[in-house]
């Protein structure tokens, strides 16, 4: 067995035979032409034929996988008709008196070079687009088909790289996965693959691609691995995972679009937890009713300086727009000495879990907090946004937050910057907040119970310490009683209460939570449908 590791860009497992895909081996010859006018005309004709072909491809892609994925072909048409590009080709034909193929190759190389030289990964990747359109013109010039990959039996496509138009033209009935030696998570190939539901691995460390042709293999899009001639053990494991994945997909199909209503008619909000824009696809794919916990930390973690208002606004706006009117609950910055961010310059602490973290930092370094609130308020114009504050222990903290919130709104008003309405809630993740939840409920619009921290603080057990694992009981009655109290206090004051911690996804407790009256469960995307399955078959009584 040979194992090659790469980057999985779409999850899924495929087992089958490898087909090595090679572009038409093209050897472009340079030769002199006598009639340069006729040659120019030949190029123009090829260009206009290629343009119609791209138009048709655009229409087909819109129909199959949507406008946003088809947009690339519209860009390709613009590139094809770009006067700088065509003038360069025609100049070479005229000035050197050479054939169109040669002129196209030289020009494409120059333009691709321009992108490759740019100091931006995204722009570098655009060199592939230039190569893609020039391939198309060359095929048209030489009357070759642009129809893409057509292998005989269904198999795993292995290639050096795949151009966007090649990927989209994969005959899905014949291709069960693809693996490329080059390519990045930014490439159109990766983006399209996700939409097309084909397991895919890019940047895969294969040396001799040709030697793989025709061999049995397994592609694991989850871990980004290609196993060639897998041993029995690997094959069995992969088969098992494949079945589990397919079982999940079947569940998805039958439950998608259904409402989360219990047998006695209570509607439960089943939302998703996300940690960044990359998780949005999974939220939509799993049909979550909204986002119950958007961990905003990634905005801070991925930078080496504080993210500014515009950067945050752009991200929040994108999430709000993508969710199209469904609830999006953004949790404000939740970091501390245990989640290190260099530029925050936090001191080492003896007891980080009980230390300077989350809302404690925000209320101390108010400017950081205000920047985030401004960005969220502005984004609220584009969707239904809720804000949730972590690590609350007192009513005073909520009062301070409200004071800061009204200052932020006054500043926006003074600057004439428009913003939207938001609801405000708090995380219940300290025993203190749970015990005084009757007082806190008067102050906010909702509660979301963070069971991970609530459990470790209630039981005084460090979750990181493996020696304590056997003592840790996730279903400890103290925790369940606290949850019950919180939900009751919320309802007494007319607000809703949900659970966004790990316990929310614990399907053995779902019925217990429904009986307690929990209104919302926010779980990682793959749990949305299993939870829905239980809800529609359970009663709250």
């Amino acid at each position: 067995m040979q194992t090659f590791a790469g980057k999985g860009v779409f999850g899924g497992i495929a087992i089958g035979r490898i087909h090595v895909y090679k572009k038409n081996e093209r050897c472009v010859k340079r030769y002199k032409v006598v009639d340069v006018e006729a040659e120019t005309e030949r190029f123009r004709k090829a260009c206009s034929d290629t343009d119609s072909e791209l138009g048709a491809l655009y229409d087909a892609t819109v129909r199959e996988i949507g406008e946003s994925n088809a947009a690339i072909f519209e860009i390709h048409r613009m590139m094809l008709k770009d006067a700088d590009f065509t003038e360069s080709i025609e100049n070479i034909i005229r000035n050197e008196g050479v054939n169109s193929e040669y002129a196209v190759c030289v020009t494409a190389d120059n333009f691709a070079q321009m992108f490759s030289a740019m100091d931006d990964e995204y722009m570098k990747a655009r060199a592939a687009d230039v190569k893609d359109i020039s391939e198309r013109i060359l095929n048209t010039l030489q009357n070759r088909s642009n129809s893409g990959i057509n292998s005989g039996e269904p198999g795993i496509i292995v290639a050096e790289d795949l151009a966007p138009s090649e990927t989209v033209q994969l005959d899905k009935s014949k291709v069960i996965a693809f693996v490329t030696r080059l390519g990045s998570a930014n490439s159109h190939t990766a983006i399209l693959a996700r939409t097309m539901n084909i397991p895919a691995v890019v940047s895969c460390g294969m040396e001799d691609i040709d030697a793989l042709d025709g061999r049995e293999a397994v592609v694991d899009g989850f871990s980004g691995k290609l196993y060639v001639e897998p041993d029995e053990e690997t094959l069995a494991l992969m088969r098992e995972q494949k079945n589990a994945h397919e079982e999940k997909k079947r569940l998805l199909q039958s439950l998608k679009g259904k409402e989360n209503i219990t047998t006695d008619g209570k509607h439960i909000m089943v939302y998703a937890n996300i940690g960044g824009l990359g998780d949005l696809a999974a939220v939509l794919e799993n049909d979550a009713g909204g986002i119950g916990l958007f961990r905003s930390e990634f905005l801070y973690l991925e930078k080496d300086r504080y993210p500014n208002e515009e950067e945050q606004f752009t991200v929040y706006k994108r999430v709000a727009q993508t969710m199209a009117g469904k609830q999006v609950i953004i949790r404000t910055l939740d970091i501390g000495a245990d989640k290190k961010i260099g530029y925050f310059d936090l001191e080492e602490e003896e007891n980080p879990a009980l230390g300077y973290r989350a809302i404690r930092i925000c209320l101390d370094r108010v400017e950081i907090f205000k920047t985030q609130l401004r960005a969220i308020l502005r984004a609220a114009l584009y969707g239904k946004i809720g804000i949730m504050y972590p690590m609350i222990i007192s009513v005073e903290e909520v009062h301070t937050i409200k004071q800061i919130m009204s200052e932020v709104k006054a500043e926006l008003d003074a600057q004439g910057i428009p913003y939207g309405k938001v609801t405000q809630g708090i995380m219940i993740e300290t025993p203190a907040a749970a015990v005084i939840s009757d007082l806190l409920a008067k102050e906010v619009d909702f509660f979301s119970i963070g069971t991970n921290d609530l459990s470790q603080y209630t039981l005084a057990l460090d979750r990181q310490n493996q020696k304590l694992d056997k003592l840790f009981d996730a279903h400890h009655p103290a925790i369940l009683r606290l949850i019950e109290t919180v939900v009751k206090n919320a309802h007494d004051k007319g607000i809703w209460a949900g659970i966004c911690g790990e316990l929310g996804a614990d399907t053995t407790l779902t019925r217990t939570f429904l009986k307690m009256g929990v209104d919302e469960l926010s779980v990682s995307p793959p749990y949305v449908l299993p939870i829905r399955d239980i809800i529609i078959n359970s009663s709250t009584k």
């Binding site: 860009i75 613009m78 006067a83 700088d84 992108f115 740019m118 655009r126 687009d129 515009e310």
Partner: protein
């Protein structure tokens, strides 16, 4: 380039505005495509300038080649019969997409 130099010699009054890009991705393929699509609707010459480098807004390679990123300031100019309409359309589009 020559075309623009000639135009300057005519001392025509053209319309222009500047804008600072806020989209974290900058002027990547999709916004560039949106600009070109709009620009070609006008007969006026429309240019986009960044750091003294200028590109024709009707040509996608040139636009992408400017390498406009978040925080960069660009100057958009329109010159021709429908320059008022062109500059208004470009301004609206750029504000919304970049």
């Amino acid at each position: 380039m020559n075309k623009f130099d000639r135009r300057k010699e005519r001392y025509t009054i053209m319309k222009e505005f500047t804008y600072t890009v806020t989209d974290p991705l900058g002027v990547h393929a999709r916004p560039a495509g949106i600009l070109v699509k709009e620009a070609v609707k006008f007969t006026s010459d429309i240019t986009i300038e960044k750091d003294g480098k200028s590109a024709d807004a009707k040509r996608i390679f040139g636009l992408m080649g400017l390498g406009v990123k978040q925080g960069h300031t660009i100057t958009v100019r329109a010159d021709g019969a429908d320059e008022d309409a062109a500059i208004a359309a470009m301004q609206a589009l750029i504000k919304e997409n970049m």
